[in-house]
Symmetry: C2
Subunit: 218 residues, 2 copies
């Protein structure tokens, strides 16, 4: 039994090492530019097939990296949601959507790779599906979107869809760009992740409330 | 002289072929994932050093791909700007910022790679500098930013900087995502590039006008 426990602990440590290494390599070079073999080697695994053995395919590995973070983000989101009163307005709902990821990045401490990893994954249609599936499994996210929609003016379907895309791009790419600037010692517009989230919430609320102007061949 | 003219024409055709090939490969795989040698081979050049001979470094090649489009975008922008009256408002200036690139994508006809190429270049800090230099050389862009700033409420410097970043992310990534969806036969929220530009202008104006809320440890 003792031998089996040690082996299980070793396997757990190897998995963690592979996940941390994969996140960093994916963040810095792109998911498709990095092979499972390169991840295994960079994680110091003598066996080049270690990723395959411990995780399976590239998609399985991407999902596992995402899940390392999503449980904590979900926890932060559920906490923020529980603190919302009955008078929650659009800003409160948008705040619940944006802030948990930024709080998570703040608590990870620098340097982080998670924001750039998300940007890499979210700009690939096949990999993005993995993140979308993860999101669908989140009860808090469904509640936030329903709450937000109750506080918003009615919008044509195509405008609602594109503004949802825009909010996603803003959250993903502003976080990734901030993380990249921190990693490279370049200046950032805001002093911390919390302040960056403040700025995003203001902007996304403004975007959702923007009037839809007819053009009519203008 | 005739022989020299033919050789010049051949060199011009080879350069065009390399530029079109590089744009497609960079758009689909990322700028760093594709070597100059791969571009030369995909462009059907027997000499693997063709890119180096005709353009120089990777950065020189990226700049040449960008310049293939920037002259036309600048022309469209100058035309739209010239049509602005004295009563131009924030929406008009934002429209001048967004629309020329979308009109250019529309007139290129499908399939295009330029929007994805821009997204690849703009998410890389070193390569982005190339695009920023190109923009600085644009007199119409300076005029638009000055005009926009005259129509906007005063904003703290950090908010102005981050909203500028946000507008850039929205333009670049909404265009790239639309182009990718078209290339892969997936649905898009808007029927055409023109309508996509309409939606972006509404949203970016809303974002610039969004009030800045103090948080104060809320």
């Amino acid at each position: 039994m003792a031998g089996r426990t040690v082996r299980t602990e070793q396997a757990g440590a190897t998995r963690q090492l592979i996940l941390v290494t994969a996140e960093r390599l994916f963040a810095e070079h792109g998911v498709y530019a990095v092979s499972n073999r390169q991840v295994s080697e960079a994680a110091g695994q003598g066996n080049n097939a270690a990723v395959g053995y411990h995780f399976g395919t590239k998609s399985d590995l991407v999902r596992a990296v995402a899940q390392r973070h999503s449980a904590r983000v979900e926890e932060l989101r559920a906490g923020q949601l529980a603190a919302l009163g009955d008078s929650a307005d659009l800003r409160d709902w948008v705040d619940c959507l944006v802030r948990p990821q930024f709080d998570h990045l703040a608590e990870l401490g620098g340097p982080t790779w998670y924001a750039r990893f998300c940007a890499q994954v979210m700009t690939d249609p096949a990999l993005r599906e993995i993140m979308v599936e993860e999101s669908r499994a989140s009860p808090s996210l469904r509640e936030i979107i329903a709450g937000r929609d109750r506080c918003m003016p009615a919008l044509p379907d195509e405008v609602r869809a594109e503004r949802g895309d825009m909010a996603r791009h803003l959250i993903v790419h502003m976080a990734a760009e901030r993380e990249r600037a921190l990693a490279e010692g370049r200046p950032t517009p805001r002093s911390g992740w919390r302040e960056a989230a403040d700025g995003l919430v203001d902007a996304i609320v403004g975007m959702w409330l923007a009037p839809v102007r007819p053009r009519g061949g203008e």
